[in-house]
């Protein structure tokens, strides 16, 4: 099963500065790369050679140095701060469909060589592999991370000010706000990848996140609201794109709204999804099961559906790791491949898979740049980046008006899918639709369906594509990676809502 745990993201329909699709494909100069590994190209070539000593087909060294800053405010005080440093190196050897992997966080050459020998042991032939070629540096000279004021150079005081601002905005929003928590974090990852194809490539990846949780209370009843933002951006984001004040207010707004919310209905009914984070539906229903490893192993219901119709002709889905500054974006994937926007479903027909090196080698598929790993201690696997359903032609208000009685999904808190195509997503705030209008707010419910069935039941697609909050994390095989999802307003003819009334 594959998880998406969003810490309760929300999307408001009328958000004035909601995350519209960036039109420009602007590129920035990259953040400076600082080498923390002390391994020369000649050393790396030697390590690759050693990794291939038992006859592997492919060897790779992945090096990572990451710094992380964290601030936690609760109970009206900056309660604690944290700093973390992690360094490590993973060596991978592929031999046919087998992978050997060793890692170390001691980067002395003898420990690195030991990791290479561990990985090499997967191939057991007596003959050594081909000699590792001379490494050629392919590091890009431009970056998709648009950063003007890098977080790692900003003062702790400036970061604390952001947290305090979000906190105060939530607390001051309404008398019924009983507790507030605000968390800020940023990280900077320097990665360097060398492989036996002669590739040597580096990337310096920033990430910033500010989130707020508000708890409301009235007559002994409590509810919570969540909002946040960030991405591969600099400190200017919190002034230009999403202010800490708005993060605090939106968290509080949801918490207060839920105090008056009714229990969700139970049973099958028409569904309208708000634009933005309803993209979780696409992430679960489609994205995971088009990750190439599940097709290669034939566990995914989609494995034999390439070129076949699996959904309504209104449905076109992409995964695009190249959107500037998004949380799920990257200049190179964790195997050094330059990513490209990948068409997954075209007008209801399966057109593509998300590939990593292992699956593309075995399936003879084209690399798409979706080989990702949580960190140096994990082998890469095919993952989503920024997944979305393309805009359609319908005006969002017409879609809502078309439903006599149904359920409107306003904000979501994550979802999960299994390879059969059964998937769920959890609504943290919904509304009843009566005669084409939103009426009573409704609280928490999980929706369940089977992907091909639901894709066929998507019968209206809005023109209002938006992306959800830049705070989402996706889990697969124990590895967490940052992702973003998006979708326009959608109507599903009917789906099971797991309420109680």
């Amino acid at each position: 099963m594959h998880d998406k745990k969003l810490p309760r993201p929300t999307t408001k329909r009328d958000s004035p500065n909601g995350n519209a699709v960036p039109l420009g494909r602007s590129l920035n100069s990259p953040l400076p790369y600082v080498d923390h590994f002390g391994l020369s190209p000649a050393d790396l070539r030697g390590v690759l050679q050693l990794a291939l000593a038992s006859g592997g087909d492919f060897a790779e060294v992945f090096m990572e140095y990451r710094t992380y800053d964290f601030i936690n405010m609760e109970e009206d005080i900056i309660k604690e701060t944290a700093e973390a440093v992690s360094i490590g190196l993973g060596v991978r050897v592929i031999h046919g469909d087998r992978t050997g992997f060793g890692y170390t966080n001691d980067l002395s050459l003898d420990k690195v060589r030991k990791a290479a020998q561990t990985a090499a042991a997967i191939a057991r032939s007596k003959a050594a592999g081909a000699p590792a070629p001379v490494l050629r540096d392919r590091t890009r000279t431009s970056s998709r991370y648009i950063v003007r004021r890098p977080a790692h150079r900003a003062s702790l005081r400036a970061k604390m000010a952001l947290v305090r601002e979000a906190y105060a905005a939530a607390q001051g929003f309404d008398k019924r706000i009983a507790k507030v928590k605000a968390h800020y974090s940023d990280s900077l990852k320097h990665i360097c990848i060398a492989n036996s194809e002669g590739l040597l490539v580096r990337d310096t990846r920033p990430m910033v996140k500010l989130v707020c949780v508000a708890i409301s209370e009235k007559d002994g009843k409590r509810e919570s609201g969540y909002w946040g933002g960030g991405g591969r951006v600099g400190m200017e984001y919190f002034r230009d794109v999403l202010t800490p004040r708005r993060i605090g207010e939106e968290a509080a707004r949801e918490a207060v709204l839920l105090l008056g919310a009714a229990n969700a209905p139970a049973g099958e009914m028409p569904i309208v999804l708000a634009p933005g984070h309803s993209g979780v539906l696409i992430h679960e229903a489609v994205g995971h099961l088009l990750e190439a490893d599940f097709s290669r192993k034939k566990t995914s219901v989609f494995w034999n559906k390439m070129g076949k119709r699996v959904g309504s002709p209104l449905v076109t889905i992409y995964d695009d790791p190249t959107i500037p500054s998004f949380r799920g974006s990257y200049n190179i994937d964790d195997e050094g491949t330059t990513p490209r926007k990948t068409l997954l479903i075209e007008k209801g027909v399966v057109r593509g898979l998300l590939q990593d090196k292992l699956s593309s080698r075995l399936m003879r598929g084209r690399l798409t740049g979706h080989g990702r790993r949580q960190d140096y201690s994990c082998a890469p696997i095919p993952r989503m980046a920024n997944t979305y359903i393309a805009a359609g032609d319908d005006a969002p208000e017409d879609i809502l008006r078309s439903v006599k009685k149904g359920f409107y999904v306003a904000s979501l808190s994550g979802g999960q899918v299994e390879d059969s195509g059964k998937f769920t997503f959890s609504v943290s705030l919904g509304y009843l639709i009566e005669d084409g209008k939103l009426t009573a707010p409704v609280k928490q419910a999980t929706l369940i369906g089977t992907n091909i069935d639901i894709l066929n039941k998507i019968d209206r697609v809005g023109s209002d594509l938006e992306f959800g909050l830049q705070t989402g994390t996706c889990s697969k095989e124990g590895q967490d990676v940052p992702v973003t999802d998006g979708c326009p307003t959608l109507r599903i003819e009917k789906m099971t809502v797991g309420g109680t009334s």
Partner: protein
């Protein structure tokens, strides 16, 4: 690894001294050194083989009642000293917190050896044996013709040595091992797939279930879901299998931590001493059960593990606290400090006397919950809504499998509505429980 142990202790102690020198009023340093082996096999071949060692150091400093944390996987002394200096400086920028501070040194000590956390037999296993266990497990499962695909089998083992040193004079260290073996399967054709898995995780190799037993359970759990139906929306009794009681207990754990209580993030805030469930409900957190996965000699505050009754015959007796949450709530720490938060030791629902079979036999109509999909748990309200897979019960017998439905309810009402507790408690994971029958939940389907 053993020969490096004194070095870990020296490192922790010297950093504590250094932190004091840098101006920290109090400091705590933990260092752990781990070794990991993991093999995934699928369709009779090795898919991935991982072997590695890694170390990590964590520290907490307190200055003028202000707290800062740091951690590093780079154990270079220069890096660590820089992190200590930064932490002291960062602490100065925070706000004073009257409850900040390390736990006092406890006179009590738990004998780590008596807890049987370390099994030399796991260390002695060679790679070939470990790979062989995974291969045997998968092969046994694939013998069953109803199984149509495999997620593969995994054998994993870990050895971790941990040291904790604090300015209050506490120094503790212990070693622990872990091994796990499991397999995941599919049955049915591509468009009608069902899946499930079974695994066994233990601290001692001899306690691990056999490859054949694991394969048999994984096969049974998978094929029983074939040809499912979707039921009509209705309120019915729900029988939680032990794997499902485990997540229910995990959710309850999140609702009884001192942290959640002072943050008002749990519906059980203010309920200490009150009845929150019926008399069949007794929930215990016990860090002292020899050989179990959730046992430890001391927690990350350096306080000794203990046994805490959380719910006694329906009455909420204790919140589970680290030192910080306890001070804030004017309670006593229960030895549940886990990093900077509160974590479970062995947290479980006490078993009853009735067999799971009798529970089913005594159910006229209802759903046996066997798997869930999605999160849908809200500790602030206690609300639950999750995707569900199960077996429909009619007249005390299993009638057919059910899928693509949801179950929903509220943890408070579930605890009040528990009608039967099974006698089948096993410690497959640190958070666990036996079969449980809940009087009524909403099953949403057609």
């Amino acid at each position: 690894m053993k020969k490096e142990a004194p070095a870990l202790r020296d490192l922790a102690e010297s950093l504590v001294v250094f932190a004091r020198k840098c101006g920290a009023d109090e400091a705590e340093v933990s260092v752990s050194d781990g070794y990991e082996f993991n093999v995934d096999v699928r369709k009779g071949r090795i898919e991935t083989l991982i072997e590695a060692g890694s170390r990590v150091c964590g520290l907490r400093v307190i200055k003028d009642k202000k707290t800062a944390f740091a951690s590093s996987s780079d154990l270079d002394m220069g890096t660590l000293k820089r992190l200590v200096r930064n932490a002291v400086r960062r602490a100065e920028l925070g706000n004073p917190d009257e409850f900040a501070g390390l736990a006092p040194l406890s006179k009590e000590r738990v004998d780590a050896a008596a807890l049987r956390l370390y099994d030399p037999a796991i260390i002695a296993l060679d790679s070939k044996t470990k790979i062989g266990l995974a291969l045997t497990t998968e092969r046994a499962a694939l013998c069953d013709k109803r199984i149509t695909n495999s997620y593969g089998a995994t054998f994993a083992s870990n050895e971790i040595r941990s040291v904790l040193a604090m300015t209050n004079g506490f120094v503790g260290e212990y070693a622990q091992t872990y091994c796990g073996l499991g397999v995941g399967l599919q049955a049915g054709d591509t468009d009608n797939r069902v899946e499930d898995s079974w695994s066994s995780s233990k601290r001692h190799f001899k306690d691990l279930e056999s490859p054949e037993a694991i394969a048999r359970k994984a096969v049974e759990r998978t094929v029983r879901q074939l040809k499912p139906r979707k039921v009509k929306t209705q309120n019915v009794p729900v029988i939680f299998e032990p794997t499902q009681t485990a997540w229910l207990m995990g959710f309850l754990f999140g609702c009884v931590t001192g942290t959640a209580v002072y943050q008002k993030a749990t519906f059980l805030e203010g309920k200490l001493g009150q009845r929150i469930g019926n008399r069949l409900v007794t929930v215990v957190d016990n860090g002292l059960i020899p050989g179990e996965l959730g046992s430890h000699p001391f927690d990350s505050d350096g306080l000794p593990s203990r046994r805490t009754v959380v719910v006694e015959r329906g009455v909420l007796k204790n919140y589970l606290c680290n030192h910080y949450a306890a001070r804030k709530l004017r309670l006593e720490s229960t030895g549940n400090a886990d990093g900077n938060g509160v974590g479970p030791n062995n947290f479980y629902l006490e078993p009853g006397t009735v067999t799971p079979k009798d529970i089913v036999a005594g159910t006229k109509k209802g759903l046996i919950l066997i798997r869930t999909l999605g999160h849908g748990l809200n500790s602030v309200t206690g609300d639950i809504s999750r995707g569900a897979f199960g077996l429909w019960v009619e007249d005390g017998e299993i009638a057919y499998p059910v899928s693509e439905v949801t179950i929903s309810g509220n943890l408070g009402k579930i605890l009040e509505g528990i009608e039967a507790v099974g006698n089948d408690l096993e410690f497959h994971s640190p958070v666990t429980g036996p079969t449980v029958k809940v009087a009524e939940m909403t099953v949403a389907g057609e």
